[in-house]
Assembly symmetry: C2
Homo-oligomer: 428 residues x 2
């Protein structure tokens, strides 16, 4: 009911409609901006962020004060915090995006027809991207820079928790755009924290928005999927699995599982459910669980796991469906590769899964019969990351099947068109 028509709703509607029109207008010159112009803007944006360090820190202090007053958890406060190091990292990240190849205009594929027509499929910007995110203020810079490099205008709608920090960063980005002669409206930040603005953005602002990228928790994603009237890059949770086959090398399995779960527990590529081949129960389970426990991980096992490793808590059905984002892992025993595929296809969020195995048949079936965005063999699920894929920065990991899937980087922020060159051909 946030976006019903009342006085405030009507004001917000007018505000957002204006933002949409300006974004659409900015998208035309951006779509044909040269690589040099875009890179000059990105480098200027990075310098402006550094120059505005004090102002950004001051703004961030306001957000932190408000967050402490509202008794945010330490983890949320940490996500919100900016310091000199993090501001330098934001500037570096913008410069890194300037260093990536320009996707726009790339000929993706080309071919000739028997009648002499030459057909090219060429990468083009999507147009206008709407990004809806929560507390991390660095998303303002990352999303702004990625959209600019891919020739898109962007409308950023950050969370109210980080509103002052985001505004300060956004002001620096706009200074950079001006310095390089690109339109201010290339990167707009919705000025209000009224949630009705989100509702308006999700309608597509009368055709002004081409795609919505949600970055946040379950409730944001659910609202976006329910209310969006334009395409969405679906970003569900990362309920990631590792299956340890009986053919797995034991040491490798121990290292991969410990890394996948404990390197960073709060990222979407972190392991949440471990599946052990029943015939590897005696050989592999105990060393793997010992290592996890040593690293401070809570184990929740099914009956067979609890029987083999009595320190484990008993897993409930809800555990197989839970993305803990914490030092907790659920562990189930499965009947070989078939059992693993069955469990994953039932419970997975289709983000990232890994198999540890030396048996080629098991690996082949894992790769063929599981339909998740990223499947890994003998490697940690924490590699689910645009940077680790060599794609440069990413705006997130998509779990939908359309357009963008897996890491969403510059290429995924693009569409394409066909250019056909003839010499007077008409169709018989």
């Amino acid at each position: 009911m946030l976006d019903r028509v009342d006085d405030n709703g009507s004001e917000i509607r007018t505000l957002m409609a204006g933002i949409g029109l300006r974004a659409r207008a900015a998208s035309a010159p951006l779509s044909i901006a040269t690589t040099q112009a875009k890179n000059a803007a990105l480098n200027a944006m990075a310098s402006q962020v550094e120059t505005a360090r004090e102002a950004i820190l001051l703004a961030n202090a306001k957000d932190m004060e408000a967050g402490r007053a509202r008794s945010f958890t330490a983890a949320v406060l940490d996500r919100l915090t900016l310091d000199e190091g993090r501001i330098a990292a934001i500037a570096d990240s913008i410069r890194a995006i300037a260093g990536l190849p320009d996707p726009v205009g790339e000929v993706m594929t080309e071919w000739d027809r028997p009648n002499g027509l030459h057909i090219e499929r060429v990468r083009t910007p999507l147009g206008v991207v709407g990004v809806i995110y929560e507390s991390r203020p660095n998303v303002t810079a990352d999303a702004g820079a990625l959209c600019l490099k891919s020739g898109n205008a962007v409308i950023l709608r950050g969370g109210s928790d980080s509103v002052h920090s985001s505004r300060a960063i956004h002001a620096a980005l706009v200074e950079g755009l001006r310095e390089a002669g690109l339109p201010d409206d290339a990167i707009q930040l919705v000025p209000t924290t009224d949630r009705a603005a989100v509702g308006e953005l999700l309608t597509g602002l009368s055709g002004a928005v081409d795609v919505i990228v949600p970055r946040g928790g379950k409730s944001l994603v659910a609202r976006v999927e329910a209310d969006a009237r334009v395409p969405v890059f679906a970003h569900l949770e990362g309920l990631c699995h590792i299956y340890v086959d009986k053919s797995a090398e034991l040491d490798m399995a121990v290292e991969i599982v410990a890394n996948a779960k404990m390197r960073r527990t709060g990222i979407c590529g972190a392991l949440e459910t471990l599946l052990i081949d029943r015939t590897a129960l005696d050989t592999h389970l105990i060393p793997i669980l010992n290592r996890l426990a040593e690293r401070g991980c809570e184990i929740r096992g099914d009956e067979a796991v609890c029987a083999a490793w009595p320190q484990a808590k008993v897993a409930e059905d809800a555990d197989w469906a839970t993305e803990y984002l914490d030092a907790i892992v659920s562990v189930a025993v499965v009947d070989g590769i078939s059992g693993a595929i069955q469990h994953i296809n039932r419970w997975s969020s289709r983000h990232t899964e890994a198999i540890v195995a030396e048996d080629d048949d098991a690996v082949g079936r894992f790769f063929a019969e599981i339909d998740s965005a990223i499947l890994l063999h003998n490697a940690s699920t924490q590699f689910a990351d645009g940077g680790e894929f060599g794609m440069g920065a990413e705006i997130g990991i998509a779990t939908g099947k359309m357009h963008a899937r897996g890491p969403v980087g510059l290429e995924q922020l693009c569409s394409f068109k066909y250019r056909v060159r003839g010499t007077g051909q008409t169709r018989p």
Copy 2:
């Protein structure tokens, strides 16, 4: 209000939920079906369509009778008609799809990372495709065959006008699936003509549908875009333009325009609005319009066109926004390539546009500054077709910017996943 909860609504909901579950179940074996199995099924489907010729003709006669009773226009009746030749063409089209390369499992791109990880992006089926179409009964076979070859289960919801023909064709397809040992539920036809079934399909049947492909007129497309809760391959109208630059070779311009408008007026790639460079008014306009008039085309011109060619009717604003699909063309004079780009970006449906010109700068700007799915230089807009692009059969031409754009063939009916091969890598 077609899908409100009443007795009938609840029955339809139960029916459609069952269809969704069966489609999802069928999609798993289909996604790993071998190319041989899929081709065997396609060839069997083609033979079964031929074998069922009499039954299909009988069913079609019922649709034709109902159509005549409802005073359908000759054009609609023609679209509805099947005869021996058209049934043979349906079978041939299925066999042609069997002959196309299998997109599933194709490694689209692959690369190595410095840490030794090998990453492949591999084509996979989308899963379950919902196709909503109107009167042409051959769509039942084309859509069924394309989805099968791309490893997708499909739910077909044909129009009530062709219900008997579609059912007879569908029965033949299912016989073919059985013969080849693939699940019947690979290709389901919604058995009811109740429009509430469309509403249910558009909700995605509780996650059972991955994408909706609408094939039909404006009202269908509008309903789909408003009500769909799953991704849609947008298929708007084809409001196609040709811009004739002053540098155009006159004879080529005359031939291309006549072909683009008059070869077939009822297809989405047909020319609807002709734009003439003001400085080519004296040299190019008259011969082009004479040829169109000779071929029986009605001309609706702006003021300058009517002054130069007094037989023209006066175009109204609505003409620039109208897809005639008939022997009518609107003609406007524009100020060179800039004026052409401005007119097209204002009025186009982003389907297909062409430029006739010898001036490379004009062509370059046309290709860069117009964001339509297909742009042609010195060739007829009637080449906007998957077959003419060498992509084999198509399920339509998409005008959205996401995922599928332009002709929607086998590749566009696919998603992808990443397969990553390691040797024990963990993330530092």
